[in-house]
Symmetry: C2
Subunit: 338 residues, 2 copies
């Protein structure tokens, strides 16, 4: 099949690789309708993560079931499915506790930017639609495989409540989905930190009531002004850098929680400040499967439209250009069509 591979920092190719094959009875193979590039794919692209040259890359996709293992009883060839980037059996103690991202049979989509993807634990992981969805829904359904569920997880972890004031640090696709999640959960005020006009526009469409363009200390001072010196009731940290974390703790009111979903890179948590301010922290890799049924319903009913985060669609063969566009912040999130 044709698949996106990474060979070195900055070296993304689309080339022929072996088709995925079913090796376990719980596996399924998905013919990818749409895949996409994640902000976290930029970590190896920028040389911040180790790379095994020639590995396929991409963990987000939706598509049609092509083949199933003998124990996959809940799905059949031809079903249209959302593929959570983290696969789970949805029956182990961690899954039952709502922590499918810590499943004892955890798996990951390894070729979401390709023609086919393997899903381990298909029964536990996948969620299907009734028939083939409208083409117009494809971007929003694709967003459920990671970024929308991850933004939702940040809001859940931060304890967003009706009527509260929420700050979202990070205006990538996940941060924008965090804005959407907070608004959907009934936050009265959603403050998006963003310097980029196209992202500010989407944040507003997603329900942001205020935009703060300043960063760091100035951004924190601006949010102090907006909250009468009190700070936010919940903060969503959707970047993963030390600066973003510091900003998140600076704007959180005492007794609140920073929900974090950006993979931490070079982060040193301000434990003394957390202690003094009683600001907690919660989050991590999103248990996508936990949220999928609810998010699918909200998407199909039109209550949320997370697909807006895709501002560039390319054919799979142009995957390298998609990486460049995201790396240079020319695009928020790139959708790839095999």
């Amino acid at each position: 099949m044709r698949a996106t591979t990474i060979h070195a920092p900055g070296d993304i190719r689309v080339e022929e690789v072996p088709d995925p094959v079913i090796t376990k009875p719980t596996d399924a193979i998905i013919k990818v309708t749409a895949g996409c590039i994640c902000g976290s794919d930029l970590w190896p692209y920028r040389g911040h993560n180790d790379i095994t040259a020639g590995d396929t890359i991409g963990h987000e996709c939706i598509g049609v079931i092509e083949e199933v293992g003998s124990e996959v009883t809940d799905f059949a060839v031809g079903d249209f499915v959302i593929v959570p980037f983290d696969h789970c059996d949805n029956t182990c103690a961690h899954c039952r506790y709502g922590m499918q991202s810590a499943c004892v049979n955890l798996g990951m989509t390894a070729s979401g930017q390709a023609e086919y993807a393997l899903v381990t634990q298909a029964n536990g992981s996948l969620v299907k639609t009734d028939g083939m969805p409208d083409e117009a829904l494809v971007p929003s359904l694709l967003a459920l495989s990671d970024v929308m569920a991850t933004g939702w997880h940040a809001a859940v972890a931060a304890g967003v409540r009706k009527g509260g004031t929420v700050v979202v640090v990070g205006d990538g696709a996940v941060g924008l989905c965090g804005v959407l999640a907070a608004a959907q959960m009934g936050a009265e005020r959603v403050i998006a930190m963003s310097r980029h006009e196209p992202r500010q526009d989407i944040a507003r469409q997603f329900g942001a009531t205020d935009i703060v363009a300043e960063r760091g200390r100035e951004g924190a001072a601006r949010i102090a002004d907006l909250t009468e010196g009190i700070g936010a009731d919940a903060v969503l940290e959707c970047v993963g850098t030390d600066d973003a974390i510091k900003t998140a703790f600076a704007v959180a009111r005492p007794g609140s929680t920073v929900g974090f979903v950006g993979v931490p890179h070079g982060v040193e948590l301000p434990v003394r400040k957390m202690f003094q301010k009683n600001v907690g922290m919660a989050g991590g890799m999103a248990p996508v499967r936990r949220y999928l049924p609810e998010l699918l319903e909200l998407t199909l009913s039109g209550a949320i439209n997370p697909g807006l985060v895709f501002d560039l669609t390319l054919p799979l063969e142009e995957s390298p250009e998609g990486y460049r566009a995201m790396d240079e912040r020319r695009a928020i999130k790139v959708l790839l069509r095999p």
Copy 2:
């Protein structure tokens, strides 16, 4: 008045210092019935915190109101009161949010190991009993000024729930009170980590169902065994060292929270592990006033008896011996009578 002072690491004295005086209309002066030595007093005693030579030390006490400022309307001379170590107006936005430890008018008891103590924000901070309490209740009432409320805060921050499995890291007075809090909140299983028999005994009296004497990795392995490899639903970290924090995160199940109340010293939070396991952290300096009404009721009704943590009572003049006894772990917690 006679008061305990600190002059250098290991140099505790009882000497004559000026009586506290009312300088603000919200102040009150307490004639101390009983004060005590806190685990956190050992940080400067052991040279881990800065010391201003000659400063009074001690932040926990109960007693009788001796004098009140002109705006102290809720209390009168002669009232017997519990003095939260952190004073608050109980009306500001942070107090109303339950974060009295972040009150905009925050104050601290500065001479709890002395004849008299000054309370700022008396109206907001103090809680009184009906008449003079029985002598037998003095230790338990004294425990409410800090350690019991702090252990309770750890349990609240960790999200202890009915039927859950709780691990308490730390067998000092706060850790033991954390065991009592978790049991009182309905945890089905309370695992106390303690190597010291007298502390294990109190932990059992407070409701510990299991004792783990091993520490570090061995302790974590033992708890994995006890929880069928799943880990604890809530973890109370009541020490503040890096080792204790690491143990706390090692035994926490994915999706759970470490409630931390030990003042962090040399702690580096395992942010990657927190992310991978989705283990959150919450806590800090306890908002004592928030919990006092409930804890006082539980104490007066006999439902809890936190005074058990005091295993040595000394006259105020023997304060230096009290510090030595706690430093050498000959005593869990020392009560001082002026």
